[in-house]
Subunit: 225 residues, 2 copies
């Protein structure tokens, strides 16, 4: 009930990102339900990245409308991967499709925007070169790929890519743990990252897309073997 | 806490689709939290399409593990479209990309599977020809597109397509309500559906993909004008 009410208010523009929800007590009176039930509804909105709840009293307490779509999608995908309803092979295929398409679309976007995105991607790779921990390497790796996804200029694309990456991060770490010579694979992956970025930076998006496809499939073959 | 526990059990294979979760009381004791808190966790799992809860007592009561990934994704996307974090234009672009790609991939799949999918798509179009209500027309329209998405052979693709379609169904109905001659547009859309299906059925997947792209953009132009 709280969920439907929030959705309707968002759609008619009465609620926007940054606004506070009414207090639990007011919502409970409005719907004639218990405050515990209102709290349950707000917890779901929180889990889905639609509100951010602050506990306690004072001006910062209560639920604020935020919007982090990839949060909910990633969580849902991760859980459904765990039930094996979503096979990893299909997730890899989707990554290849979406990431290469983002790269191919890059040619249509504003050169200044492309340069800015490539600049951020470069900073991520430079950090990865600094001998970071394995865990941070995986996190930066995911961030690098999602940053390149911004070349699509499509926020739904970036949201879905972020969700797919976040959903499989645990599986990536498990796969890597089974690999005999991880330092060697890590160097190869990082060399591939640099090649992809160099092609994108010089504007050869078709080559960058092909390198990206080979890179994703190479990693998948390495962890699956 | 309940969420992490369920995820861990799913991943190590101790829980599978069709299994029952332990009773609220048992989970509350296990985590040393209140039964109301356990119930909150289960509500979130229910909202995300991971368990199905039956109220009351008896053998059918309690929460059963199910897996309906598109449920959670659709809900999350719909809410985030409402906050305007996800622009409709970007959703349309994603639909064009994913639906045309599914059609193009169809050539790689088993001919018997393709025939079965096209047969189901044909039955949907035949029902739409029978003068169904506007609401049912939209629902069958979405079902037709998602059914063709199965030609990709990728369940993650189908899940994302289902989510995108379900997320925007309200906006489609609103857009159509603003159109002057809906019966005329409806005939045009339905004629396009038949053309797409005929091309797919005779195995000309490249032509079907192009017709599908034109169809999605034609509809979008009609409701946006």
């Amino acid at each position: 009930m709280v969920l439907e009410w929030v959705e309707a208010r968002l759609r008619d523009g009465e609620l926007s990102v940054g606004d506070k929800l009414p207090a639990e007590r007011a919502l409970a009176e409005l719907f004639e339900i218990s405050r515990a039930s209102v709290r349950e509804g707000i917890r779901v909105l929180d889990a889905l990245g639609l509100v951010s709840s602050e506990v306690g009293s004072g001006p910062r307490s209560g639920a604020t409308v935020v919007s982090e779509p990839s949060h909910a999608l990633a969580w849902a995908l991760r859980m459904h991967v765990a039930t094996q309803a979503l096979p990893m092979a299909d997730i890899v295929d989707m990554r290849v499709l979406l990431e290469t398409q983002s790269m191919k679309s890059a040619g249509r976007s504003d050169p200044a925007v492309r340069d800015e995105i490539c600049g951020r991607a470069r900073q991520i790779l430079q950090r990865m070169d600094e001998g970071v921990s394995e865990e941070l390497f995986h996190a930066l790796d995911a961030e690098f790929h999602v940053t390149l996804g911004e070349l699509s200029g499509n926020v739904v694309m970036v949201t879905i890519l972020t969700s797919l990456r976040t959903a499989v991060v645990g599986y990536v770490a498990e796969g890597v743990a089974r690999i005999e010579d991880w330092p060697k694979l890590r160097r190869r992956l990082q060399a591939q990252h640099w090649e992809i970025l160099e092609a994108a930076t010089r504007g050869d998006h078709a080559a960058a897309a092909e390198l990206l496809r080979e890179h994703i499939l190479d990693f998948q073959a390495a962890v699956a073997s």
